[in-house]
């Protein structure tokens, strides 16, 4: 049951680029800004938050889903060790739940948005990255993987990510949800400045 769910998730992640590749005629690599007004998009995300609170009793958040899937994979490979970990002692932390469904939905929704707007990119390297760091896909993948790992560690430690803290937590006036994004901004600006200007 759970192993099949894991396969579904991995299958979806792998299948999405294929779908995107099938839609290559609409590629517009020059489109770099928002298609809609960012204010309108923000307002609609605020309204969406009201819906998730009312219908699902959940705040929007993305990072937890990755911890859940990691827990599922961990249970497949090393069940006893995974069970022994403090974080996964709560079985809820390794389930296909609302949050995992949400993140899968995000992939699908972003695909629809890009497809409808002719903004499917279908590429392994962002032009801005390639211009600065060259054409090695593996370098970008390695840095992306390391960045993802650091983000997940930091998000679990802080209790949320850009959406969980920065949007959902901040709108409920949680003090920690104002501190964590500020810390992220400082760490992010310093890292990006070093990467692109050092």
């Amino acid at each position: 049951m759970s192993s099949r769910n894991v396969l579904h998730v991995i299958g979806l992640i792998v299948a999405t680029p294929m779908l995107a590749l099938a839609q290559t005629e609409a590629v517009d690599p020059g489109a770099t800004g928002p298609a809609w007004s960012p204010y309108l998009v923000g307002v609609l995300i605020g309204v969406l938050s009201m819906f998730t609170f009312y219908f699902s009793a959940k705040p929007l958040g993305a990072s937890t889903a990755f911890a859940n899937v990691a827990g599922l994979i961990g249970r497949l490979i090393a069940p006893r060790h995974t069970d022994s970990l403090h974080f996964y002692a709560d079985k809820k932390a390794s389930k296909i739940d609302w949050q995992v469904a949400l993140v899968i939905g995000v992939i699908a929704g972003a695909f629809l948005a890009a497809w409808s707007g002719g903004e499917i990119t279908g590429r392994w390297l962002p032009p801005m990255w390639a211009e600065r760091f060259g054409e090695s896909v593996w370098l970008r993948m390695a840095v992306g993987f390391l960045g993802g790992a650091l983000m997940a560690f930091g998000a679990r430690m802080a209790g949320g990510c850009t959406s969980g803290h920065g949007i959902s937590g901040a709108m409920q006036l949680s003090v920690g949800s104002w501190i964590a994004p500020l810390g992220s901004f400082v760490g992010g600006v310093a890292t990006a400045m070093l990467l692109f200007y050092a």
Binding site: G147, M151, V189
Partner: protein
């Protein structure tokens, strides 16, 4: 309707209705539907794009700030209104000064390297930025590494400045019906200032 304001300061203990049904399949479907809308909006808002996300960290593009602050203003007013009407529970996250700060900074370093955060990374993959695959796999790996350290962290970092379900209105000693409009006004003024003085693109 609004007269039964918080008698108890810790709002997570509110005597609110338990809300939606526990129907697992329905909630998975709703999660997927809400995710699709979220992803659609993130892509249309431009925040699934590498240039836009890195652009914020290099102070060249303020799209992310505009999206986030608008979302917080509207969501805050909406959710506190629903809460006052007794329609939703709040889901306040715990404030732990040490873990929030250190975790936030670590997250930021990772964000600077990856350029996609967890939500926008999923959106980036959806729009065809395949480098997001590495970021999403990294997010799973990092989550497991965190789990390895979680016992130790719970005994150490999580205890530094653990203030529980602390909210801004309790710090400022204001009722939500005061603090929400005040915070909303401040955020709108900041947005207006950014719009006028820094980045006037609509």
């Amino acid at each position: 309707m609004a007269q039964d304001e918080t008698k108890n300061p810790t709002r997570n203990e509110d005597p609110q209705p338990d809300g939606p049904p526990e129907n697992r399949a329905a909630q998975l479907g709703l999660g997927f539907l809400f995710g699709m809308i979220f992803g659609f909006l993130l892509q249309k808002g431009g925040v699934a794009k590498y240039e836009v996300l890195i652009g914020m960290l290099l102070f060249e593009d303020f799209t992310v700030v505009k999206v986030m602050m608008s979302a917080v203003v509207v969501g805050m007013i909406g959710i506190y209104a629903l809460h006052t009407a007794g329609l939703v529970k709040l889901h306040i996250k715990p404030t732990r000064y040490g873990a929030n700060t250190l975790g936030g900074i670590l997250f930021g370093i990772g964000f600077g390297l990856a350029a996609y955060c967890p939500g926008t990374g999923a959106a980036a993959l959806g729009q065809g930025n395949f480098d997001a695959i590495a970021v999403l796999l990294g997010l799973m790996a990092g989550s497991y590494v965190f789990a390895e350290a979680s016992g130790w962290l719970a005994r150490t970092v999580n205890r530094w400045g653990d203030r529980g379900m602390l909210t801004l209105d309790r710090v400022l000693n204001l009722k939500p019906r005061v603090s929400v409009p005040v915070v909303a006004t401040v955020l709108v003024l900041v947005l207006a200032a950014i719009h006028v003085f820094v980045d006037p693109t609509p």
